[in-house]
Amino acid sequence: MNRRGFLKNAAVVGAGLTLPGSCGLVFRALEASERVDLAVAQGKSPAQITKAAIDVLGGMKRFVAKGDVVVVKPNIGWDRTPDYAATTNPEVVGAIVRLCYEAGAKKVKVFDRTVSDARRCYRQSGIADAAGAAGAEVSHIDDRKFRDVRMNGLVLKSWPLYVDVLEADKVINVPIAKEHGLSRLTLGMKNWMGVMGGWRSRIHQSIDESLVDVARAVKPTLTVLDAVRILTANGPTGGSLSDVKQLNLVAVGTDQVAMDSFGATLFGFKGSDLGYVQLGAKAGLGVMDLAKLKIKKVQV
């Protein structure tokens, strides 16, 4: 049962019952209505703000159940050290892995189909070490483990996606916010390129539609946008510290479109400036208009 459904039921039941026993139910409904759609935490420690933002949404227990196999998908695409903001902050990834295990996850898997050499990307990004230290199973992409997924999407009829993502109980997307030459920004939805097999670079010929198609096929439980450092130019590879802006911010939400729409604001854009956000909203994948969302910001 999702939040909306619960609210509706609670309202109907609450209105229909005048018995004193229904008070508790109404109270719970009120509590639920305070639940925020998108949490933003700012502070010095990437691990702490990650936890704080997730806590605002109700804590990791809300998303990960006991015994779950969880995929945590950071952006490890390039051979850069964390300072350069081309790959997801390793402390953010480590914190999420720990929270998953604390919530009772059986296994947490971390991987990405990189663009630069995978060994260097995993190592230099600091993610292999951070996620490994938190107990995650950090693995390189196994070419044999892609499965054709029927999409019947806007442009993609089908595409091979990574089996571990398809078979996971829960999937948590952990992108980093960066500038991008074609899609303007690479945020949550674009991060799914890391689970695509085949000649994925061909999707650039119709990038916005393709991103929506893939995002619909993956459906993450949660998106954690790393904006501890963002890359404002020469993305998605970066390579110069002068293009990096330190925001010390992490945003968390369940709506992929809303998350990317929010991410756009970090660069001074609106969600509607991004083609895939517009298309995603139109396709019913999520909400683009941030005014319709309850966003809560916390400082740590």
Binding site: S116, R120, H204, Q205, T237
Partner: protein, 518 residues
């Protein structure tokens, strides 16, 4: 038993060699632990010819002095106890029935002629050593052919089970496969042009053992010849006691074929395998430092020596009159790894060991055939369609034993241009086909990006205006790494490609007016 001690030594050194070989692979860190070049550092032949041909020798090569001194005192113990190729030959040779060397003794001389040929060429700065140096040959053959072959076989085996997917068995096989992947297999299946050719040559070397045990070591190996010369006055010698009745038992099992005519012994051919000491029915053989007795000396023949030496000299103009020597003519696709010396100097230093190709993390470094002339056979060339030069990687410079590829700090390496990328507008999607694509720009690793995007509006067939971004290359910023060519979605003939014009190492192979701002 000394023979078993020798066998243990061979096994240990072969294992160390293979361990170092497998270690010569990126683990994602900037520095490599123990590259296999360690063996090459001890190679006095490479030391000598590199000194002659390139007039410079990396400090590490002074380790070969150890081997020189060892050989002067103890003879060719390296061949019998250490050399990994010798050990492989030794193992292969057991497939053939042992028999005395007999008349084939005459063929010993070949290896000395080969040595003379190589030295004469090196004297005139043509460096051919790598083609026949045993360690170089072994590392090259393993890197480019045998190791990829083993990887392919193992992977195919486990993949077959994986896709067949029999319950329970597949879990077991994947577990074992994982162990293999963590220990001996390459991170990714390596592929090389010429893998079959170079592998075949190596298998021929091994196969020659079926004609004569240790054929290579006895008749062909130039390093063996050099050590043979150095061992002329070795102090560790074989001596026979009164008990020897020249029964010839040792002659049959002598690994170097040094024993002949019953009790004659050639010092320079002895590999100190200790078989004779071990099996002598009368216990008449002993090795010692104080041993007396003049060993037989091999006569090379003055005429043949002159011919070998003169041929070596003549090979220089023969090989150098390739059109590639003509000023202004270059092979545009001869993209050398970053840090490679200027082409002439590079060829004088490169020993074709193939370590750079083994360690290249994208598999882009491949062996040439005649792209760099006959002189440059099996030297490294970057083929960007196979793999690009990773922006933050410096491994090829780290493993190069002779400094043909200089070991550069990362910041210096990132500034080295190995070529320039140019766009084929007739194939590029945004230019020719009104289709968006920015893959080359996305992956361009320099900062600012050498590939930038120009907004353009183009009409498609229906007359509809389509807005595209067209990639443009900033020649000042482009370093020719080739990632754009590797990833260009126009498969086959790419829409963006690198040639070596503009390479930092060349004064002449340039494009832009120096100092002119673009």
């Amino acid at each position: 038993m000394i023979k078993n001690l020798r066998r243990a030594s061979q096994a240990v050194f072969l294992l160390i060699f293979l361990f170092l070989f497998i270690q010569t692979e990126s683990k994602g860190y900037d520095d490599l632990g123990y590259p296999v070049r360690l063996f090459l550092d001890f190679d006095p032949l490479i030391f000598l010819t590199t000194l002659l041909a390139s007039h410079t020798v990396p400090v590490a090569f002074y380790l070969s002095v150890i081997l020189i001194v060892l050989t002067i005192f103890m003879g060719r113990v390296f061949c019998g106890w250490v050399c990994p190729l010798g050990t492989l030959n030794n193992m292969m040779g057991t497939l053939r029935k042992a028999r005395p060397i007999g008349n084939r003794r005459r063929l010993y001389r070949w290896k000395y002629y080969i040595l003379l040929f190589i030295l004469a060429a090196a004297l005139f700065r043509l460096h051919l050593t790598g083609v026949l140096d045993p360690l170089s040959l072994l590392i090259r053959s393993l890197s480019v052919s045998i190791y990829p072959l083993i990887n392919y076989a193992v992977r195919s085996f486990f993949d077959t089970i994986f896709f067949w997917n029999p319950p329970v068995i597949v879990q077991g096989s994947e577990f074992i496969y994982d162990l293999f992947k963590r220990s001996v297999l390459a991170f990714e299946q390596p592929f090389f042009v010429q893998s079959a050719f170079i592998g075949l040559l190596f298998l021929i070397v091994l196969g020659l053992n079926l004609i004569e045990r240790r054929f290579w070591c006895k008749f062909l190996c130039p390093l063996g010849a050099l050590l043979g010369v150095l061992s002329r006055y070795a102090l560790l010698r074989r001596s026979l006691s009164e008990g020897c009745d020249a029964c010839g038992a040792c002659e049959t099992l002598c690994q170097g074929g040094a024993i002949h005519d019953g009790d004659r012994w050639d010092l320079s051919e002895c590999l100190y395998c200790m078989n004779c000491d071990d099996l002598c029915p009368r216990n008449a053989v002993s090795f010692g430092f104080s041993a007396k007795g003049e060993p037989a000396v091999l006569d090379l023949g003055r005429r043949n020596v002159v011919i070998a030496f003169a041929s070596g000299i003549m090979s220089v103009p023969l090989i150098r009159t390739t059109a590639l020597s003509k000023p202004g003519y270059v092979n545009p696709r001869l993209i050398r790894p970053p840090g490679a010396l200027e082409e002439k100097e590079f060829l004088r230093a490169c020993i074709k060991c193939g370590e750079c190709m083994k360690v290249c993390i994208t598999n882009g470094l491949q062996p040439t055939l005649f792209e760099a002339g006959m002189e440059g056979i099996w030297s490294p060339v970057l083929i960007p369609r196979i793999g690009y030069c990773e922006y933050r990687c410096t491994l090829c410079g780290q493993v190069c034993p002779t400094g043909a590829i200089a070991r550069l700090p990362l910041e210096a390496k990132q500034k080295v241009k190995i070529g320039l990328a140019m766009i084929d507008e007739g194939r590029c999607l945004p230019y020719a086909h009104a289709t968006p694509c920015i893959v080359c720009q996305e992956a361009c690793p320099t900062s600012p990006k050498a590939i930038w995007l120009e907004d353009a509006s183009v009409k498609n067939r229906e007359g509809k205006i389509i807005r595209v971004k067209r990639p443009r290359v900033d020649l000042d910023l482009c370093i020719g790494c080739g990632i754009c060519e590797t990833l260009c979605p126009v498969i086959g003939q790419p829409a963006i490609y690198v040639t070596n014009v503009g390479e930092s190492r060349s004064k002449t192979n340039q494009l832009l007016l120096p100092g002119a701002a673009t």
